[in-house]
Amino acid sequence: MGVEIKVEKINAWYGKTQALFDIDLDVLANHATALIGPSGCGKSTFIRCLNRMHETLPGARVTGRVQIGDLDIYKGTSATQLRRRVGMVFQKPNPFPSMSIYDNVAAGLKLNGFSNRKQTDEIVETALKSSALWDEVKDSLHKQSGASLSGGQQQRLCIARALAVQPEVLLMDEPCSALDPISTGKVEELIFQLKSKYTIVIVTHNMQQAGRVAEFTGFFLLGRMIEFDKTERIFTNPSDKRTEDYVTGRFG
């Protein structure tokens, strides 16, 4: 089941440059929350603070508090522990090219020391079904490399890989920006279904997409969160002039 996320006063830096300023955000469990805003406004930086991926870059730094479920992620846990509960899907599909489809999905389990064959088989199947890829790959699970799939299939493989670890939260950073419209449709459909089991935070600069998949939307600009509300409200009746300018296409 998904858990809720409470973000308080997150500030983030790349070396001396500050990229995020005092971000507060409450994400409801089992809902999808979209983050929109022009390129470079800090959406990726923010989402990477939620699974402590930001701090893996040299010189990067974060302050503030993030509570995910019962976990105070910057205090009460290690980054690796946290990331098993908070899955991530990246902008560009990044399957492990040296691994079969099966091994890609099982990677999170195997590399974390889980070695029960039968259970792994089941988890892989469930994950591939959840990501709507099962029917397309079930006959070549062990024969085919993850990298030999099409772009859209690769991204669904990456989603399955994230799901196999059985996280509570799924972070998605522009998961469709490298995909064709049909694959995009499939992934969006998927996100819609995954909400029942996971809390989803999705970055997108496609506003229609935010409208289609997310109940809540936050608008970012220059490292600040300008407005956060029900998606419908953000698009039809935003309270901030800058949000309105962005969603009506006047800039960005």
Partner: protein, 289 residues
Amino acid sequence: MPNSVRVLQISLRRRVMDRFMTALAALTVLLVLLPLGAIFAYLLYRGFGSISWAFLTQIPKPVGEAGGGMANGIVGTVLILGIASVMGVPLGIGAGIYLSEYGQNRFGDLVRFVADVMNGVPSIVIGIVAYGLVVLRQKHFSAIAGGVALAIMMVPTITRTTEQMLLLVPHALREAAYGLGVPRWRTTLSITLRTATSGVVTGIMLAFARVAGETAPLLFTAFGNQFWNLHANQPTAALSLQIFNYAISPFDEWHRQAWAGALVLIVLIVAAVSAVRIAVSRGTLAGVR
């Protein structure tokens, strides 16, 4: 000129150019392969006649007696190269991993510099170093000392190629693993290194093939041996040493055997490299380079 004709002309010129460039590339390949082929052909011509069952299974006969072979040298070479690989390969891979994953600092730069300098050190000097490190201390020559000398030669090559190959692995793959909660060390071994396997193996094979025929570093380390010896701690025969000794001898029979030994050495190296290549490509999947 109508547009379509122009397009046609351009494409004709392009086609000619394309053919020309392809031919040029093929020619350079030929130029590269020619010396290799020539050496191999000449070795076959000079050496093949002297290769016999006896040559492959017997040890040298005393001076003046006909017959005998280089079996001890073949076994010794395999032994010394085995020792060198067991020491040099893990060390080189480890250092390469350090450089690519943790070495973006002054110490890393120093290691890179030392590795590059070591690559240029003449092999005879490396032999002297191994002599000082191992032989003087143990007070006798040995396969281990020879192995140490060759390992010292292998390490810098393996280190630098491993580093380069790991750096080619996209950062996105490391992040994908981190995102699954995989610890950094595990990511390095199971994702980064595994993804770069074929390149890393190529580096190892380069280093291996380079030292496999080395003679100078073995002169006062493994030293050579006219008799059977399987003790890593005793003076040990090596094909390259035997070729050297026989080639500078005044006997025709030994000259013939030196050619045969050279041929066997080349075949052994090609066989070892091919076997590893096949083993590695067996282990990879369809759709993976």
